[in-house]
Symmetry: C2
Subunit: 336 residues, 2 copies
DNA sequence: AAATTATGCTAAATCATTTTAGTTACCTAT
DNA sequence: ATAGGTAACTAAAATGATTTAGCATAATTT
């Protein structure tokens, strides 16, 4: 038995394809289809289990009901947690998710967006690498809904959802001062993304406010895990006065912990540690690691919400959501 | 400017739509299109940047070039790592990935497969929850390529890629005996999935071979992280003779480490630990945790390879791939 | 009673492609 | 001179929906 088409439904109801299509698209009222006929069509669809052919539909309407989720790295715990929640909610509302990882590689991401645009996805959620301004603007010009997250482009009129990185970092560093640590280094990446710069600014401001000098180690973002460990080890060996480190992102904290292990430095006795972006890991680690936690659930729900709103009302003005972080003090920053 | 169609290309080349279509689908040779005309068409396509409309194409052929990736939980490190590699390779070969998480919930997964089938995806990679035999059989009957992984259904003629869970567990437990531990418990889930049963069998066999009695704690797989910690704590308190634990899967090991922390039991002095499914975490943890590592890259590459082969040659007989695991001895199982 | 309006529906064009079943023109062999 | 073959191409049907423009008929107004 071949798959049912709208034609079959029309025949079974002694009516036209047009009428069935109107009912199917909720335009029965507007098109003055009688209640009786509408009910009959609906019942036939129910009974036969008829499903619209999405190719034919897409061909006419250009709509796919698919959303593109483009994150830095789907295997990073933060992004996979966000993906998880977005996926869940998109499905509930009738959308599917196609995803991919950018590796923060600009040309790879350009390529991916081109591919996705060919496929006529209905909307995008993106953590853009630098240099992606033109592609984002292109999507906006084409009236394709886009929401950025994690970082954004200050020059572009886009919707975005980010966290308050400046105050997240500020609170973390002030917490270290309050706990009695006075010589605090920042370990961050060399990438110029907004979220990293804000964390750096928050750190610097707070250190200076406390009458100290900032000490910053910038690690190229394309280095391997092993290279990170080595770089951090070397830095720690050089500056024996440090009594605390603030890691600007989770994977640098992992490298840092390995470096401290290798140097047999005890946390928090030899050196205190705070990390940006909380993970299950930090709770379980011994000693547990103080971390700035991002509101993953809130971020994800806002993202999918704003995107779907934008898809329904394209002329809606851009929304800029900045969510607060939450400092979770643990043993790594408490003097015994 | 409206988007170019095959008609525009045909006009520009003074030829027919049919001819362009043949060239586009690599059937120029077979259809005896002259070399000159073929070149001309190809050049025009190149120059104009023409792209096929995938809806129209899908409408005729029923092909989407989209693969469904249905895993237990995309935010679990093992699955997101697999997703990462599959995604990468699928894109290289012209396929996109739509994904979703099952939560090991049978009815949710049935729902998802229904949704995906409506969308005419070209193939599936699935970690099936129990009770999904009928849906998998349905896909096979419909000649839709499917590859299972992580677990499989012994009764079904399906392609699958799994690891040698039995020997993985056996080696881990024997390693503990060899390291001088003699009273080894298994902490596993109550779920009856093949991979878990095989790990259990490997454990039991090895313990009995070494002249000891198996001690098994089964934890319902729908318990929360907190419940897991409590259950494991209670178990550890009751049996003071234990000198080692083998965790059958990574999230149980996380719970176990937290429980050991709470009870202030030292690893490996008070108790040794080995976990199934290695993670970055286990390398960084202090002490580092001995683990059975799954060949994530190999699994992923095999999966996408087998699926794409199956898509090209649907009548290919089912392939069953069983990959070896690798025991990584670390400090958690070495007596000082 | 004629003109107007409202109601309830539908024919046919359209979207961009693939594919079947040809056609035309030329060449070769008898 | 003619049948048969082949090289090179193409007209048109089919895929399954949406949507525009319009057609009867009945009800209402003038």
């Amino acid at each position: 038995m071949a798959r049912l088409s709208i034609k079959d439904i029309a025949q079974r109801c002694n009516t036209s394809i047009t009428t069935v299509s109107f009912v199917l698209n909720g335009r029965a009222e507007e098109k003055r289809i009688s209640r009786d006929l509408k009910e009959k069509i609906l019942k036939t669809i129910e009974d036969t289990g008829y499903k619209q052919n999405l190719f034919a539909r897409g061909m006419r309407t250009g709509k796919t009901n698919i959303i593109g989720l483009i994150v830095e790295d789907i295997s990073n715990a933060f992004f996979s947690a966000v993906a998880r929640i977005i996926e869940e909610n998109a499905y509930k509302r009738g959308y599917k998710i196609i995803y991919c990882s950018t590796d923060d590689n600009t040309s790879k991401t350009k390529e991916l967006i081109k591919l996705f645009v060919e496929r006529n996805l209905d909307g995008y959620i993106i953590t853009p690498p630098k240099g992606l301004e033109d592609e984002i603007q292109f999507l906006i010009n084409k009236k394709i809904p886009v929401v950025l997250f994690d970082r954004y482009f200050p020059g572009l009129e886009t919707d975005y959802v980010i966290v308050d990185n400046f105050n997240g970092a500020k609170n973390a560093v002030q917490h270290l001062f309050d706990a009695g640590f006075g010589n605090i280094a920042l370990v961050t990446t060399s990438s110029a993304q907004t979220q990293m710069l804000e964390r750096l600014n928050g750190y610097e401001k707070t250190v200076i406010e406390n009458g100290k000098k900032p000490k910053i180690l910038k690690i190229p973002f394309d280095h391997s895990a092993e290279q990170n460990i080595k770089t951090i080890s070397a830095y720690l060996k050089k500056d024996k006065d440090l009594d605390a480190i603030f890691f600007a992102t989770n994977y640098l904290a992992f490298g840092g912990l390995e470096a401290l292990n290798a140097l047999e430095m005890k946390i928090p006795d030899d050196i205190a540690v705070v990390a940006f972006d909380d993970q299950e890991f930090f709770r379980i680690y011994n000693p547990s690691i103080t971390a700035v936690s991002q509101p993953v659930k809130d971020i994800s729900l806002q993202l999918i919400d704003i995107l779907l709103q934008k898809m329904e009302t394209p002329e809606k003005p851009a929304e800029r959501i900045i969510l607060s972080t939450n400092l979770i003090p643990r043993n790594s920053s408490i003097k015994k």
